[in-house]
Symmetry: C4
Subunit: 117 residues, 4 copies
């Protein structure tokens, strides 16, 4: 179980897209020899959680998934605080990155997600 | 017990507020089914700690709390080094983020807080 | 075993080089008294992994290795999502940093890599 | 024992000082009731380590120490790759932050240091 308490997709962007579209990414590495079936649950400050969003990360592959692209069961609202929990049936490693391009120059943040020991 | 050794609220800001107000945020995820009663203690370089500041994070919710907004028992001074310890009666996960908008373009940093094993 | 799920070398740069060449760096610290023989495997979203790339970090030394400089067995493609796993025969510590200079002002991200407990 | 594989003090700065002097900071939190006697050892890519640098972090205090300010036994060279190991006689927590102001707009990175389990 991985957790990312910080989530926020900026409400607007500057610069050529898709490179400079403001986005939040969850990067999942599956270095194992089995496909990983991953479930993402999204938590908010003022309503019940959304999801689970289901994705498969094939064996020996990485998936850099933009929260902006999650549509089923519902899109993630922009300019809204959220958090996420990532669960997988095979061991994976999870990193969180944001590109914020609301201003002329982009800003970046990244951290390895927290994993339950 | 979670710890964030780095704390610093920049003394000024650029850009439209509240989005681009320079701020430090502690993001707390409570993915459990119980409300979390959280206590934040703030440490300084040259005086005794402040707090505890008390907040509740409801079950299955996330709280993105700006240190700028802490007022009771006392506000956090700007442009001052500090650190923080976050304790909760149910398991939570904590991430630390700063938006620094002192210059024309914002800068971001983020890291999962340190958790006592 | 260390893992970095996020990898992306921006496709272009601004500013004087080599300081402001967009790059991804893996920083390896070998604080031990034995040379560390390190193997890096690079994972992609849509093909089998590349590598291993082999480097030696001498005893009591740090190596800040740019992914841009990895050439054998093959260079890392630009503007492509990847991830990496770092293995060593003596204990090392690994940190991941990116300088993104695609725009006029540079952006930075950094995180300690994930280590298998 | 805490480790920070990434270290680099940019060789120049922009903007008013001391706020916007390019710097690297090690933030040490001593939440205990005993003074912490801390030793910092600095590792390089091509020479033997420097140090130990000795600092005291008083009980219930935080110290945000700029590597730029370390002078004894020797200053840290600018624009040079390094890494650091932080040891303390009482439990502390360590975070690493860089402000890079070589260009007109500053960039920030931060991560909790790696702690030996």
């Amino acid at each position: 179980m991985w957790a990312i308490p910080e989530g926020y997709i900026p409400g607007w962007s500057n610069g050529p897209q898709p490179e400079f579209l403001s986005h939040e990414t969850v990067c999942i590495l599956n270095a194992s020899d089995l496909d990983a079936h991953v479930e993402i649950t999204v938590f908010f400050s003022d309503r019940e959680p959304a999801g689970p969003y289901r994705v498969t990360v094939d064996a020996r592959r990485t998936l850099h998934l933009r929260f902006n692209d999650l549509k089923d069961p519902e899109p993630i609202p922009l300019a809204t605080d959220y958090a996420s929990v990532i669960e997988s049936d095979v061991p994976v490693v999870v990193q969180h990155t944001r590109l914020d391009s609301r201003q002329a120059e982009n800003a970046l943040l990244s951290t390895i997600a927290w994993s339950e020991p």
